[in-house]
Amino acid sequence: MTSSSTQSRKVLSKIAQNRLQKELAEWQLNPPPGLKHKITDNLQRWVIDVSGAPGTLYANETYQLQVDFPEHYPMEAPQVIFVPPAPLHPHIYSNGHICLDILYDSWSPAMTVNSICISILSMLSSSTSKQRPPDNDRYVKNCRNGRSPKETRWWFHDDKA
């Protein structure tokens, strides 16, 4: 489904390239637990294996995150989605879109791919039920034209939303 592949993607700015190379080097030096970056020569798209933490609802399950970087990363947020099949979670839609404020309005260049992945992993770990958001079908239908989650007007109720 990968909505981003249908969009015309601009090449990374110099600052973005430079920054991502440093993030990648740091990641390889100190790989975050439960997360595995698949080595490719594509700096603009990272694919990351996420392993559910032991003792949580997602233990022994592995999912794939796809992170696409815009031209002006890190001033602009990366696009982060789960490659379907996405984990069953109250804030993760079946098309892989994730309802998490730091991916949209609350993004800041002070964050990194590493810190985002850790937030997503902790969102999984704290889940108490394996289910889709109540509006899943409608939302996914609206996204059939390949809409990016960054174009969605998200409405974050509270830290649980």
Binding site: N18, M75, D101, S108, A110, P134, D135, R138, W154, A161
Partner: protein, 288 residues
Amino acid sequence: MEKQEEINSNPGADWENFRDDDIMLQHSAIRDEQAHKILFLGDKEPLSALAAEYQSGSSILLEKIKLLDEKYCAIRRTRGDGNCFFRSFMFSYLEHILETQDKAEIDRVKVNVEECRKTLQSLGYADFTFEDFFALFLEQLESVVQGADASISHDELVERSRDQSISDYVVMFFRFVTSGEIRKRSEFFEPFILGLTNATVDQFCKSSVEPMGEESDHVHITALSDALGVPVRVVYLDNSSCDTGGVSVNHHDFVPCSLSNDGSSGLEINPYITLLYRPGHYDILYPK
């Protein structure tokens, strides 16, 4: 949860709320659209341009603008995109350096910038998250010093402040500096933050300081002024008046703790950055 869908799927949501939320979103969309019609930084305008805005409006405001006219000669507007305080600060500061060529001030502020760098490092920020923003600010600071190959004119400073690829990065530099200062002195800032929101210091920095477009208030101004050691005067223009019916224009000076604590308290501090605050927005004011 996604906005539109949430309404239809949540049986608890009543239509009253839905409308308010929806109108709020519409308003913010309109505001965003309006904001983008205005440059990041406008041209210098006489104060009469400010009065013209309120011609058919509040007489209190018009009277206050008359008072402002005695002390100030011009205003320079900034875009109302949530970054107006930082952008006003950026331009005012660099313009001041360009006009005064104050080498001692440049040396002084560079020491503070290096302090800020160490603060962020000791707070656990990875260098690569902030170093590009620091480098870009220092580059602007160097370029307003005249007589070097890379020196820029006043016009070029205005242009750069309107160029997103420079202007936004300098704004972000200030956001890093502000966040670092608040976190470093979290005990000092905590009560002020609790007065504004229910957030912890960490939550406040993450949600109200570090993301672009988040508006500033006295916590941000205090922190930035303290961290860089730069005093800031904020002149308040609002509809308030005294009980006696008299009208006066209030201002507040943010004096960095490094200046107010060093025993020179008898000394009058005259901030060279003056901002005009109207509820929700900062512009630059020029004293006569």
